[in-house]
Symmetry: none
Subunit: 218 residues, 4 copies
DNA sequence: CATGAATGAGTATTCATTCAT
DNA sequence: AATGAATGAATACTCATTCAT
């Protein structure tokens, strides 16, 4: 049993090393340019060991993508107690941005998108578990804000997407087209403007009253 | 003269055939999986002829992408005379969708995004000429709507992106993750909801008054 | 007739242009790297015209090589009247060097040598007409010098090669291994030393007496 | 350990097979005409294995050339004790010829020369290590002969080249132009004549006295 | 269980030569 | 006679995957 568990831990260490090396290689040049031999070398294992852990390049890539959205990145869900609707949404925005930028999620996204024709199921999973799941987390928070009377009742699913769409336009969309895209300096202001816009649409009268016009204005 | 023009016409026929075959092949499996030999075969030319027309795989791909956004004949610009703000925006939305779906622009976008690490300039061009240029067309229309008093004065550039972001969330984003993504049945309603949201944010009081609450609400 | 001769002159102009362009291209990177299409372009003719004049790449190369040694480079033969043996040999040396360096003969030699396995006949011809023929010219001069009593009677053929071998060691041999080899500054002195050595071997007593020891010495 | 040494031995066997096959292929038609695929086939390995051992065609060719002049085990240096100057030089001549003819050095030389424009460094190395290094070995022997009083003091470097130049004229030069050049029957006599000539130039009086005139003469 | 050498099919690109106009 | 577009075979090099040790 001691031996077995030792072996298991060694094996898991190697698995982790492989995943790390693979991730780096895939991010560097996309799926096609990543070479199994180089991944093995970077992970300090033989190619045979690599194939023991992941039966094919495809399987390895899938594992990386799934790791990315089941990773410990945490949920977007936020406790709303004691916070204004605006501050709650700001918190969500901050967390979203962290998730997007810290783990090179944008770069990973590019590769998933690239592989849609050859790995449609993977993309579907990523969309479900990466995109829609996060919208659901936002929806939960919005639901509570509606219940508290901060937001008007509305189609919560679409509402979350309206907010998300606006934010993505500044955070995700340009990142998809730019290698090593960095957070712009004015990104917080841009996100605040999106939140203000969102509150204009869906905020209860009392909640909307507060922000000063100029924050959105010309 | 007869010879020269004959040759030119033959040459242009072949060029078109190559572009068509190349487009199909690139769309089928992305940049890496497209094989120059197969493109040549599909276009009924020899590989040498293919290379006479396009000096490299990269050049061929670039040509296709540039064709895609210069080929999008219609601008998003719309004459606002006699139309309500809502109708103007609806027109823009329809045109946008047509551009996005008719020419497999989404599929092409995937490949451009995929190639960001290895062809950043191409992506930059595509973003400038494909994304930002269209925003500018929208901005012009918005400007006129503001001048006419339909919309409140606001940061037009960001305003256009707020609208665009919301729409893309339903039209473009899921398409990136789905092979052969088709227009959903309720897409017009979704876009209308985005427009309503936009008018809530930026519409002048008189303009916002009109829409019925239920169009946005649950 | 006027027309015919006009045509002939046009044709010969083109032929010359082709030969020139071909020569440059072959010299640049050797036989394999020279491309018929580029030669045609450089000569301002179509590939078809190029093939009208020379039926194949091989034929073109052969023509160039033959041009090189039937070229107007002149013979090594020198009138000995009124000149000492040493001065006669010096003249020959000067001419030899001019031939070798002015026309990029060394570079051409490299290509001929390179193509020995695939064009042995060409190399044989070049050796006969380029190397041995020149030895024969030298032999004639030496014969006259022997007749005049300046040189001892000896195997004239081998004698000429002894002299030639020594000179080549400084002039040709390093040039074969060096791209764009230039005449070294001390080349005249080196050649004089070879001539002195030659006269030591084959000079009649009276002729050898003259040079001062130090010219050969340590 | 057993595994490692087994692998090493297998690997070295393959490496040797590759070198042999490559050598043959390069010698057959020069650098350009040798095809990596055919070399691999001749060596009974896959192209991939070929590339494991030699990272490029260039690297493979370089390895062959370097093998050629480091493989020439015997130096030209000869112990002079108890031998006349003439016999010492004869020994050197014999060794030189063996080196030149046994290993197809002449054929290899052709290819190196051919590749001067595209691989100048290789040619430079070959000249340094193949040509000049041997001259230096000869120079050492000559130095001892001078010290012993067999030869007059002279510029040893040039002296060695005078001798070498004369010999090459008969041994190397025609070989460059002739595929499968074989030692001519009278080659020993030719070399002896060169040595005699050399001793006429640089031999001390006592040493020169001995040879019979007819050996050089007509 | 781990290794890394070996595989062979696959890829972009080039080039001498031909032929319809 | 002259053109230049078209050909198709050839070539160096890569890579996911397997297997003998």
């Amino acid at each position: 049993m001691g031996l077995a568990s030792y072996r298991r831990s060694v094996s898991e260490t190697k698995r982790a090393a492989i995943l790390k090396a693979a991730r780096e290689n895939f991010l560097k040049g996309g799926y096609s340019r990543a070479a199994m031999a180089e991944i093995a070398r970077d992970a300090d294992v033989s190619t045979a060991t690599l194939y023991k852990h992941f039966s094919s390049k495809d399987a390895l890539f899938t594992a990386i993508v799934q790791d990315a959205y089941t990773g410990t990145e945490g949920s977007l869900y936020t406790d709303i107690t004691g916070l204004s609707a605006r501050d709650v949404l700001r918190n969500i925005g901050r967390t979203y941005m962290r998730q997007q930028f810290d783990g090179q999620m944008n770069a990973l996204l590019r590769i998933v998108i690239a592989e849609v024709p050859s790995a449609p199921q993977l993309a579907r999973d990523a969309y479900q578990n990466g995109v829609l799941a996060r919208y659901d987390q936002i929806r939960q928070v919005i639901e509570e804000l509606v219940a508290r009377g901060d937001l008007k009742p509305h189609n919560l699913h679409d509402g979350a997407r309206h907010l998300g769409g606006m934010v993505k336009e500044f955070v995700v969309w340009p990142a998809l087209f730019t290698p090593d895209f960095q957070k712009p300096d004015d990104i917080d202001a841009k996100i605040d403007a999106c939140i203000d816009a969102y509150l204009k649409i869906y905020g209860a009268e009392s909640a909307v009253a507060r922000p000063r016009e100029k924050e959105i204005g010309t």
